[in-house]
């Protein structure tokens, strides 16, 4: 918190921030400065100097009691914590070990090398406990009740639609026949709140088109679907296609069984994989470079998969990122025309 106050008082760079707080090593002050930026309290101007954001100004002018609430709000608004909290919530009173937190966060976020993942998870866990959002029960981190002083938090949702509304793939025809033959035994629930009232041991199937990294599915399951059914129910995520990574993530981080019509094996469908023979190493490098220019958060799976109604964001950005401004290899500003623009 001292970093935000220091910047608000005019500290602009690492040294000034360290001088204002006192006793910090150069690397520590860089971590603190970064933390203030990640939480949205400070930002860098064109000269790389720190400045306070509107949230930072509000924080700096608040008294200590209000500061705590603002800090909690910033943590709860952070995308990484918005992934972490539903995961912890789904664990209930049992909580999660640090190993489980590391596995989960490593699957849904870019945290760097393994050694840094351990440290970052240690820090996140420390923040949750220090802010009263979680408590330690032995070696397990258990989500606690939110402090009453926490103001309204905007909870962002960027998931793909999990229920496609049309499909006519041949792979479904056999299944459709089976379903038709069992029609009398199947009930359809349009109103989600009725799911909770289904008899014990009911098998509940949710349908999706693609499981890529699995992070969106896990996020959606833990935040929205898990609350719909009882512990005696047997939930299942049925997907048209899924990567092994995604299947593993959903199985590991939710109580859902996963069934997919087509598994997108890395060797065949990950076009960045060196073992994939579709492209030469030079072509792969060029694809990688271009996709990075078009959207570095979207290209890690190396997929070339599209549906007739849209392209998933795990597919290479060059396929679907339409109208994106980017700088080409010669330094020229261009706008990208995508073959299959993504529709939301």
């Amino acid at each position: 918190m001292g970093t935000i106050d220091a910047v608000a008082r005019g500290a602009r760079d690492d040294k000034a921030i360290a001088a204002a707080i006192g006793g910090l090593d150069a690397r520590q002050r860089r971590y603190y400065r970064r933390a203030a930026e990640v939480l949205g309290f400070t930002a860098r101007d064109a000269n790389h100097h720190s400045i306070v954001t509107p949230a930072g100004k509000e924080f700096a002018s608040a008294d200590s009691a209000v500061k705590q609430g603002l800090f909690v709000r910033a943590v709860l608004s952070n995308p990484l914590f918005q992934r972490l909290l539903p995961f912890l919530e789904a664990k209930g009173a049992t909580g999660a070990t640090r190993d489980e937190l590391e596995l989960f966060l490593n699957a849904v976020a870019e945290l760097g090398a393994a050694s840094m993942v351990e440290r970052r998870v240690s820090s996140y866990q420390g923040w949750l406990v220090k802010l009263g959002l979680a408590k330690m029960a032995g070696r397990r981190c258990v989500l606690d009740h939110l402090p009453a002083a926490v103001p309204l938090v905007r909870y962002e949702s960027d998931e793909e639609p999990i229920f496609p509304n049309r499909y006519d793939l041949k792979e479904y025809q056999e299944q459709a026949q089976r379903v038709a033959s069992k029609q009398e035994a199947i009930e359809y629930y349009v109103e989600p709140w009725k799911v909770a009232g289904l008899p014990s041991n009911s098998r509940i199937v949710f349908v999706d088109d693609l499981i890529g990294t699995g992070s969106q599915s896990v996020d959606y399951i833990n935040r929205k679907l898990s609350s719909l059914f009882a512990s005696s129910h047997r939930p299942c995520l049925f997907s048209v296609c899924a990567t092994p990574t995604g299947i593993e993530a959903v199985k590991q981080y939710s109580t859902f069984e996963v069934i997919c019509a087509m598994e997108l094996e890395e060797l065949v469908f990950n076009h960045y994989d060196e073992r994939n023979a579709t492209f030469t190493s030079t072509e792969r490098k060029n694809l990688h470079d271009l996709n990075e220019r078009l959207g570095q958060n979207f290209f890690v799976m190396g997929l070339l998969v599209a549906f007739y109604y849209s392209s998933p964001d795990n597919t290479m950005p060059l396929i679907w990122r339409d109208g994106i401004q980017y700088t080409d290899a010669d330094g020229r500003e261009n706008s990208w025309f995508a073959l299959l623009p993504r529709k939301s």
Binding site: L24, Q28, R119
Partner: protein
């Protein structure tokens, strides 16, 4: 926090001993002082309290004294010169 709160004596379970000669062999993230990459110094202190993700006792931030400057590193960023890095 920092050198002020560092532990300047050996800690059982720490990855190095105070006074060990070490060489900076890699950087785990961009907060590290890149100017020291490849340089050799001596372990000066261990720091566990600044909230940067340290774990006691095996994963401290490690203060290293170079000729006239001090900088902090993680254990995997340092190697003993005798480990084949000199």
């Amino acid at each position: 926090m920092g050198a002020r709160d560092g532990i300047y004596h050996d800690v059982s379970g720490a990855p190095f001993k105070i006074g060990d000669s070490v060489k900076v062999v890699s950087l785990s993230d961009d907060t590290a002082d890149a100017e020291f990459l490849g340089q050799q110094g001596k372990v000066l202190y261990f720091e566990y309290s600044c909230g940067c993700g340290q774990t006691f006792p095996n994963d401290p931030m490690i203060g290293v004294q170079f000729a006239e400057q001090t900088a902090e590193f993680w254990k995997e960023e340092l190697a003993r010169p005798s480990d084949g890095h000199d």
